[in-house]
Structure formats: C-alpha cells, structure tokens
C-alpha cells in the first residue's frame, strides 16, 4: 500500500507548529545555554583582567581545550548511545608513550607513522571495549572501568621506569601542536573541523541517528531493526581511535611522557560532556555542546589562574562553578519546558 493514497481525504486543520518549534528549540538552546554561561564567564574575567582575552592566553586555552574537546567528541558518541567510556585517559596515556617512544627506538620515523601507531593503539583498545560491551553484554561503565585499570597497567608495564624526553622528539613532531595559522594553533583548527564533521555526521546520517535511537530507547531500536551491537561497537571503536590520536597530540604538546599521561582525564571528559548538555543516560546532546563544555571547563581553570586566585582556592572554586554550570543549564531547561506547556494549553483551545 502507499501512504500517499491515504492522504487524499485529509481534512484536518493545519498542525500546530508552536509546540514542536519550541520543543526542538529547547534542545538547540541547551547548547546555547552553556554557550551563554561561557560568554558570561569570559566577559566577567575580561573585565577583571583584560589580558585574559590576549592572543597568547587564548592560544593556551585553545590548545588545552583541543585535547579535551577531541576526547569529548568520541565520548559524546558513546554517551549518546547510553554507554560511557572511562578508559579514554588510559588509552591516551598508552598511545602517547608508545607512539612518541618510536622516536627513541628507531632512527627514521615519519610523523604519519607515529600517528598511525597512535591510531592503531586506540583502535585496538576501542575494539576491546566494544567487544566486551556488545558481545559480552557487560555494562559499559563496568567494562571501561576495568579497561581503565588494565590499559593503564599495561602502559605502566611497557614504560617501566622509562620516559620519553623532549630531546628525543624531532621538531616536526613538536610542531604538530606549536605551529599556528593566523595566530591560531593549527591543531585547534583541525580539531574544530573534525568536531564540525562529527556534528554533521551525527545529525545527517542514519548511522549517527541510530546512536541517538539506541540511547533513547535501546529496545525500540532493536524493534525497528537497528543493528544495535554494531553501532555501539563502532562508537567505542571511534572513541578509542580518537583517544589514541589525542595521545599523539598530547605527547607533542607536553614533550615529556611517562606512564602517568592522561591520568584522571576520564572524569574531566565526562564532566565536559555532561556540562555540554549531553544526557548522561543517552539519547540527546550534541558533539558541539560537548566541545563547548570542554571549552568552558578549561576557560574556568585558566581564568582562575589568570585572576590569580590563591592556589589553595582554585580547585574549590572550579568545582563550585562546575556545579553552577550544570544547575544553570538545568534551570534554563526547566524554564523553557514550563513555557512550552503554558503555550500549549493556551494555544490548544
């Protein structure tokens, strides 16, 4: 049968666009909310310390954000599908050491090869997580908490007491993070483009929408024939791959790499993703929001240092601001939801 044939005698009044527009606007506005908080914050800091918006400081913030925003890109895909990847910090650490250590082990190593090794490590770790979650049917939080320990353990065993020192790294490698384009770190531009592509993919391709569907209602996702396991596996694979590549960037930026690289990043990345409006139970949120979340967190940190807040206070204040950001975001959401409901009742009669 053809659905069009049914429509012929359709005589109902035009659908009320009011409710839908507002509702979908909320979800867009969730990113704007956090963006607004960011602007507010930058504004306040700049008034206090005009230098905060200086080129050098912006570069500092951008390059720090680059690492987290990139990790948040992969994490968002996983979280949207109602999973979580806590192993990103460990994958980053392993990849950072193994890839940059190539320069200490071999004489002629091409930059591409280093990135490929980082990517490869990420893919292997991501595939491991993905398999354990999809085939093993183990909750991802448990799986990735376990692999957080395991991968870090492997990293520590590989590194032993060694380390990679800046002296062994060629300039071409350092330049990955130090080169600039029109005063902006090149790597930040590249990552911004990647995030844009990620956002476009998540919005405009079936496989991207599938992740939202799975996160929103995993059982319904199976009923409409979504290859749930494959999609979730791919999300973990991608998250791992991204963490692997981020490890290489991390190594290039910090220059000295031992077995502690990326320790504790998992919670920061999850924080960025959540602050960026991605629902921790899946189904909604965007890559762009997560990136803004990462930017906000790094800006807060940087602002506290720049404002010269006592070193004893800055952690407490950062924690407080994080809570404030989540609460504000929630407040905006609830307010808009209430507005919708009122509109609907008024417009319904």
């Amino acid at each position: 049968m053809n659905s069009q044939t049914l429509i012929s005698k359709g005589s109902s009044k035009k659908t009320s666009g009011d409710r839908g527009d507002l509702a979908s606007r909320i979800f867009r506005l969730r990113e704007f909310g956090i963006f607004g908080i960011l602007i507010l914050f930058v504004g306040a800091t700049t008034v206090a310390r005009p230098r905060f918006l200086g080129g050098q400081n912006i570069r500092f913030i951008l390059i720090d954000t680059t690492v987290f925003a990139l990790l948040a890109l992969g994490e968002t895909m996983v979280v949207v599908s109602r999973n979580v990847d806590l192993s990103v910090g460990s994958v980053l650490g392993l990849s950072a050491f193994v890839s940059s250590n190539l320069y200490q082990q071999f004489h002629h190593v091409a930059l591409v090869e280093v990135f490929l090794v980082g990517l490869g490590i990420g893919l292997v770790c991501g595939a491991l997580n993905g398999l354990l979650v999809t085939v093993g049917k183990v909750p991802s939080l448990v799986v990735t908490l376990a692999t957080l320990y395991i991968i870090r353990g492997v990293d520590v065993l590989i590194v032993g007491g060694g380390q990679v020192v800046a002296n062994s790294l060629p300039n071409s490698f350092i330049e990955v993070t130090s080169s600039q384009l029109l005063g902006v770190p090149t790597v930040s531009i590249v990552v911004a483009v990647l995030i844009g592509l990620g956002a476009y993919y998540m919005k405009n391709f079936r496989s991207g929408r599938d992740l939202y569907a799975i996160g929103s209602n995993p059982d319904a996702a199976r009923l409409v024939g979504i290859a749930t396991s494959r999609r979730v596996f791919n999300a973990f694979l991608l998250s791992g791959a991204i963490a692997g590549v981020t490890g290489v960037i991390w190594a290039s930026y910090y220059g000295t790499i031992d077995s502690t690289a990326g320790t504790g990043y998992e919670l920061q990345v999850v924080a960025a993703v959540v602050v960026g409006g991605v629902a921790i139970f899946g189904g909604s949120g965007s890559v762009i929001g997560a990136a803004i979340g990462a930017l906000l967190l790094n800006t807060i940190n940087s602002a506290l240092y720049v404002l010269g807040v006592s070193a004893f206070w800055d952690q407490a204040i950062a924690g407080f601001l994080l809570l404030l950001a989540i609460s504000l975001d929630r407040g905006i959401f609830v307010y808009l939801q209430r507005t919708i409901r009122r509109k609907k009742v008024l417009g319904g009669s």
Binding site: G136, P139, A146, G153, N217, P218, F312, A316, I317
Partner: protein, 383 residues
Amino acid sequence: MNDITTVPNLDSGKGATLPNTQANTSKRSFKSLLVWESGLFVVLVASVIGGSILSPQFLTAGNILNLQLSIGEIAIMALPLALIVITGEIDLSVASILGLSSSLVGYLWMHHVPMSIALSVVLVVGALLGLFNGVLVTRLGLPSLAVTIGTLALYRGVALVILGSNIVSNFPPSYTSIGVNSIPGFDISYSMFVFIVLAVIFGLVVHFTPFGRSLFAIGLNKEAAAYAGIRVKRTKTTLYVLSGVICALAGVLYTFRLSTAEYNNGSGLELNAVSLVLLAGVSIFGGRGSILGVVLAVATLGTIQNGLLLTTFPQQAMGVVVGGLLLISVFVPNASLIRRQFQEFKFKKVAKKRSNSGESMGDLETKRILSSATGGKGDMLQS
C-alpha cells in the same frame, strides 16, 4: 492454587499449561539470586588457597591484619555507596569527603580542639556534605554522576582551603594506634570491625526491611516506586547523608591509620570504591545487588591484592589484576547467555533463507527487552 493457573481446555481437556512446582522453583530462584555471590566465594577460596601456597607468610596473623588495614576504609565507603548504586544513582565524591574530613580533623586538632569534639564536628560536616549532594540530585533533579564529579572537585578543593600546605601528624598515639593495631584479643583491625558491624546492620536493613525493599523498587522503577507511596527523593537524600557520615568516619580512620591529616588524603579512591561495589555484583543500573556480595568482594579483592604483594608479582600490573577481576566477575554470569547467543547465531545462519542480513536476536535477549521495556527512561522523563 491450581484453579488460578488452570482454565479447562475445551479441545483436549488437558490441565494447566503452567507447571506448578512451587517448592523447587523457589529453591531455584534462590539459587539464581546467589549465582554472583557463590562465584565470588569460589574466587575467594581459590585465592586464599593460592596465597597460602605461594607464600608461607600469607596466613600469619600479622599479614591478615595488614590485609584488613589496607582495604578497611574503601570497604567502609563501599557499603553506603552500594545502597546508592542500588537506587540507580552514584556518588563519586566519597574519597573527597574522606579527604575533607581528614583535613578537618587535622585542622581542629591543630587548633587544639579536643578530639571528641573534633570527631563529632567531622561527622556532622560529613552529613552536611552528603546532604548537599542529595539536595542537588533529588531537589534540583541533576544527574548524580555530574553532581558528584562536581563535588569531587569541590570537596577536595575545600580540603585544600582548610589545610593548605599543612600536614598535621601530632595525633596522640592512643588514637593513631587504632589505625594500626588490632582489637585486643582478636585478629581484627578497628576499621574491619567497623566494616563488619556496619555490614551486618546494612545487610539487615537492605534485605529485611520495607526501607531496604524500597531501595530496590526505586532502582528498578522510581516512578512506580513513587506511585506506591515510597518517598523517593527523601530516601535518596537519606542515602547521600548516610554516605557522607560514613565517609567522614572512614576519613577519621584513614587519618589515624596514617597518623597524618593532609588535603589529598585518599584522593583517587572513588574509583576503587566503585570497582568494589561493581565487583560485589551491584548492578550499575540499579535495582540489583546484595550486602553479602559487598562483603565477599571486599574479602576477595583484599586477599588477592595482599597475596600478590607477598610474591614477586610486578605491582605496576595490579591494575591489570583488579580490572581483569572486575571483568571476569561480570562475565561469568553472562557466560551462558553469550554461549547461547553464539549457538543461536549458528542456528540462524542455517535458518536464514529469505532474509537479508540483519541483527540477530535471541529469545533471551528478547525476554530482557520485553521485561525491561520500561526502559530505565524514568530519568529522562523526569529531567
């Protein structure tokens, strides 16, 4: 009871299609409840045997005390955390509350506050910290993972504000001996004694009272729990307050064990506590778990870590062991599921005649789908 399950059949006159073997089914369900716990028990026994073979010192009183000391505070924190996870929430700020309490004990002692007063203040502050978590989660409706990542930073930061670069270590030996000695006459450390007492109380409350039952109901479907008159928000807030108090207590024990108060005491222990709770078989999605599981997980993890310390096992790889243990423990209950899935996969390969490639789905999985069709979406609907 036959008359409910049987509706006479017109065609064959055959009786009920539903076999009614109450006696053995209730036994079976009891068994299946304990699959996880018995799995842990087997691992525990194996590691005790393994440990005593590998090292002659393993079963000495001194070593057993060491074992208890090193896992004591984490074990204590894991108890209220298990309850919180059963209700479907999480608390990542536990180690920061421990650190803040430790700093506060140090600060008060540094300022010559009598220890008894200092301890009461610390427990009250612990309750307030937990209350803060609870209010943010239940009254503002924020996701607990996000909230407690925030308070993880906040509480640790406050600890830094309180104590700064100071290290307080001049605690009277009468207190610090609590941290290293066993209870006179027993081979039990004070922290383990606290754990055992708490575990018994928690076990009774969780498994044998209406309050305990309500925790599971909340974890499985908080909306339905609310409709049944369970005070969901208040219950959760209570748990966070409880967690705050107990973590403060753990902070005090930690301070005495190390005879040191400093702001970063216990940092990073939150993931250990969460691992312990998961190892105990508490479902991260809420609604499942037991205190017996927590006790067994504490014993198992403590034994394995301690046993490995006595051998030449590379300590750096401890993470690999803890992680591996965590994975194995969740895998074993799933093993039959995975095997079955694999068999069905093979079966379907044969059975597939006209169909295109598609996601294969076993009956068991379907059952899970249908049973969990409530979808745990309560959170989303509420927020």
